[in-house]
Amino acid sequence: MAGVLLRRLAGQVLLVTVAVGLAYLLAATALDPRAELEARNPPPPPSAVEKRLDELNANDRTPLFTRFLTWVSGVPRGDLGATLDGTPAGVQMRRRIGASLRLLLAGVLLGNVLGAVLGVVGTLGRHVDRLVTAGTFTVLAVPAVVLAVLAQAAAQWVNSRTGTRIFAWTGEYTPGGTGGSPHHLTERLQHLVLPTLTIALGRATVVGRYLRGTLRDTAGAAFVRAAVAKGLTRRRALIRHALRVAVIPVVPLSAYGCATLLAGAACTEKVFGWHGMGEWLIDSIHRGDVNAVAAYCCFAAVVVLCTGLLSDLAVTVLDPRSHA
């Protein structure tokens, strides 16, 4: 079992390494940092642009392969190159990852738990099931941007109704606010509630819907009927026996969903003004910032690796058939 996991891990490592390499090559050919530098105001002299590009290892007059080698040789040392504004990409990325994690951790946890509850609640009774299905149906049909904007509108209404500022929705805190630490915490929480809810709601519907589907697919299986025949109530048989099997295919899906979220809840970040990873990628692409995009791809690769490993582990624990 450990051998299988290790082999999978080795394959995955190889895969994401290739993916990161390709991503760098693609970013280096497709993005145009020269245009960005030349468009600055006042226009810098050509020699300065040239010098800057060389410093950044992003000069399109250096052969692509040379640039690639320079970049690759830096990666093991943790040197991901510098972004266009000159700060090391690693330093900027750390700040961004912090923001992304603060934004997502609570949302993802809440979303998965809520999703599991939604999926199971459907087995309790017909009416509950109808209600849950209709609810998830509607939320799934609403894109993330719209959810975020609607949440803001609702919060605005609550704020104006109560006359106090209960919710806030731009950034992580109010810039220039008084920074006393207890006040600071509530301040941060006020900013956190809405984006967290937006993310949790999105996650919960996906997980809930999928779990409900797999649960219903296993509900007719022989071992569940056997459990009922043995004398368990239907609900008990479903929760004790069917759920364990039904949850297995949900784990990789949920893990993959979380990975993509961490690597870019771009919509939510944009609407709520959080400076997280998703926003960083989009801005860097628009700026033509090769090193920043490459750094982002490294991060995304690591996230995919870790979540893949975690989901493999979880499936191994849950599914006795995979021990073979």
Binding site: Q12, L15, V16, V18, A19, L22, A23, L26, A27, T29, A30, L31, R126, D129, F137, T138, L140, A141, V142, P143, V145, V146, V149, Q152, A153, Q156, R216, D217, A219, G220, A221, Y256, A263, G264, A266, C267, K270, V271, L281, I282, I285, H286, V293, Y296, C297, A300, A301, V304
Partner: protein, 269 residues
């Protein structure tokens, strides 16, 4: 009838949206490119049914134009992605061995690749709705391909496949004539759901400036324009939202219904 009620309702709604996108623009005298210099950012009125944008364009006409764009892209992508997934998935599942490993590798690789980077590369080289459709196809076929592969594995040793093989049918013939027809229900359901995913994907790409570009419009660009001031100018934000939600509801009803109807082990309900 009960089984098919949902998919039928979904397809009916989708057809209705198609008709609206096709015929709706003829109901008003404003075309989506017209600029009314007497009305900048006006709320809905008798003249402009859904109001005007800040630059004086008629929201009704613009929204329907966007609906048409999004629907066309959605259908193109659904056809492309499902077709590609059907052929590659069935081939990998039937042939097995190296083909299977190759498909797994490629899909894994594409899954870890940041979609926005691909979008940036493609949108630099090509623009327009066909490019957007191609891009989304490239981003979306992998999941369906995996599902098709798994389904093919389970069909591979069925009697009729063995019989065809014994009769000397070639591998491509078996895949195209025997395996794919038996996967129709799965493919149909996935194509429907892919339409919705493509419409959302397009709106996401356009929202961040990678898909359809101004002056052309899609539901994504309208969302991006309307979102910042949604509470002040709701008539800019609501039409694309409502259209998008309707498309997704229709597609979801149709696709999920089809999928449910095609699984005999599923409980009815």
């Amino acid at each position: 009838m009960r089984t098919y009620g949902r998919p039928l309702a979904g397809f009916a709604l989708l057809a209705l949206l198609g008709v609206l996108a096709g015929a709706g623009p003829y109901l008003t005298r404003w075309s989506w490119t017209d600029v009314d210099v007497t009305a900048f950012g006006d709320p809905p009125s008798a003249d402009h049914w859904l109001g005007t944008t800040a630059s004086g364009r008629d929201v009704y006409a613009v929204a329907l134009r966007a609906l048409r764009r999004s629907l066309v892209i959605g259908l193109l992508v659904a056809a492309g992605a499902t077709g590609l997934a059907a052929v590659t998935g069935a081939a990998a599942g039937y042939v097995g061995g190296w083909a299977d490993r190759l498909l797994r590798w490629v899909t894994d690789l594409l899954l870890v690749f940041p979609p926005f980077l691909m979008a940036a590369v493609v949108s630099r080289a090509f623009t327009g709705q066909v490019a957007t459709a191609l891009l989304l196809t490239g981003l979306m076929w992998m999941m369906t391909a995996r599902a098709v592969r798994a389904a093919t594995r389970s069909l591979r040793d069925e009697g009729y496949v063995l019989a065809a093989r014994q009769l000397g049918a070639s591998a491509p013939r078996i895949v195209l004539r025997h395996l794919l027809p038996n996967l129709t229900s799965l493919l149909l359901a996935d194509a429907t759901l892919n339409t919705g995913a493509a419409v959302v994907g397009e709106s996401g790409l356009s929202y961040f400036g990678f898909g359809v570009r101004p002056p052309d419009v899609s539901l994504g660009t309208l969302l991006a324009d309307g979102a910042p001031a949604a509470t002040v100018f709701p008539w800019l934000f609501l039409p694309p939202v409502i259209l998008l939600v309707l498309i997704l509801l229709a597609v979801d009803l149709a696709g999920a219904g089809l999928r449910g109807a095609s699984n005999p082990f599923r409980e009815r309900g």
